[in-house]
Symmetry: C2
């Protein structure tokens, strides 16, 4: 992140502080306040320098405090790549050949929690907001995975938040990929079976209108469940799992070449173990 001087048309200009990425590109993370005119001339000098160096993708990261520099960056040919609450990332592609700029995040990830007690009752809720509001439809608790959260952990957290029930993760039974959801992004919904560790319901007021343990037959008999195939599958998967016919995926910890943090591989452990057993 060292600042560099460059000879540019007889005039010495500051280049913007920047570092290389793994793909022959360069990343400039702006931090200090700057007026747009000064920033513009430094950005132009830097682009000239990077082009001579053969750089491909150029990334400009502007913290929200530097929103005054967005217009200038766009005028120099950059476009938006992604944004988080506290910064905006812009990108430009210098070569004339095809861009290999990686895509922005494309999917939101949610969970649906299937929880049955020993009376074969399903934990269900009615939601206060959204399109099912006021329709009296009982559905399984669902929620969105937080940034950096594991699927199995998100399922346990959402159930606790919405209903007060403690659970442990059993198995991932299925998942749905849907397109054109919120803001045109796609959506992955992971259907998780959890085992209840407590049974008393304390519903959350902000999002949940009502919560109860409902006999599975009653859940299945709702016209809404019958009409919409996802909700019907939830019932079928639940019955198959309870009756011992079904194996889904369970998480196994793995390490990655690219990343020090622990990851999980979700797979059919029962089948994989069966093979190892039969070969020994």
């Amino acid at each position: 992140m060292e600042e560099v001087f460059v000879q540019n048309g007889g005039k010495k200009d500051y280049l913007l502080p920047a570092y290389d990425d793994d793909h022959e590109g360069v990343i400039a993370e702006l931090k200090e306040p700057m007026d747009p005119t000064n920033f513009g001339s430094r950005l132009r000098a830097s682009l000239f320098h990077w082009k001579l160096q053969g750089k491909k993708g150029v990334w400009i990261k502007l913290p929200i405090q530097l929103a005054n520099l967005v217009e200038t960056t766009v005028k120099e040919g950059f476009w938006y790549h992604h944004a988080e609450p506290d910064y905006l990332m812009l990108v430009n592609w210098l070569p004339v050949i095809d861009s290999t700029i990686p895509a922005n995040a494309t999917h939101r990830v949610g969970i649906g929690a299937i929880i049955v007690n020993d009376k074969r009752e399903l934990l269900v809720v009615q939601e206060k907001n959204g399109r099912l509001k006021g329709k009296g439809i009982w559905k399984i608790p669902t929620g969105v995975i937080d940034q950096g959260e594991d699927i199995f952990a998100g399922a346990i957290r959402e159930v606790k938040e919405e209903t007060g029930v403690d659970t442990e993760f059993v198995e991932l039974l299925a998942f749905r990929q849907m397109h054109k959801a919120l803001f045109g992004k796609s959506d992955l919904l992971f259907l998780c079976m959890l085992r209840p560790l407590s049974f008393e319901i304390q519903k959350q007021d902000l999002e949940i209108e009502a919560a109860q343990w409902m006999p599975l037959d009653e859940y299945a008999a709702q016209p809404f469940t019958q009409k919409h195939s996802l909700y019907k599958y939830i019932n079928d998967l639940c019955l198959a799992k309870l009756d011992g016919f079904y194996t889904g995926f369970t998480p196994r910890p793995i390490t990655s070449y690219f990343n020090d943090s622990m990851s999980y591989l979700y797979l059919n452990k029962q089948d994989l173990n069966r093979r190892v057993f039969s070969l020994n």
Copy 2:
């Protein structure tokens, strides 16, 4: 999207054109060029009006052509929610109570393609870019799902692009969730088994250094495969599937209450069918 006049401190101001969302919020999609001063006064009048109406989340969508309005929007208390190449979405939360603003997309979705021919050779590549560049490591073809693309379709497309080999989708064997990947987002990698329909390799030059059919034993024997558990699991899953011991997930088309487009539910079809069969 009708423009509304409002009495505001004795002076008539234009409110910004906006429409309601499903969550007691309001969305203003700016389209016409505006100078920042005029925009600022209309935005302040609108916020006053929306607050009186009891609106909660306020969304301002600015096309990249209106980058000159970003700074003003931020000064009025908005923060970034997400961005795509051609627009920036900003958001503000008017009530004093907890925000229920939905999260931005959190995951990139990729595929890894496991393809074996009838000589038990695995289709593998060496990559031109990224951290494995120049290391001589053979790995399965991987790639990122396009916006709006189904997982099974993305797997077939990536293999065709990188190696020229035509395939059909067999089964999803496992998936990995990893955090703190590109730009701090999480990453889901779906390991798909595909059946080859053609065998001649025509590698893509932009991203692929080399491609070949490699005996499974040789793939497994690479020190890199031995050392990194994901790559070892790929070998184990592949062998289990080839030897008939393993069942993963296959996609079934479903319809959604929320969305007209076709979605897919990935599940263990063999187990679900087994239950239906045994009950009949």
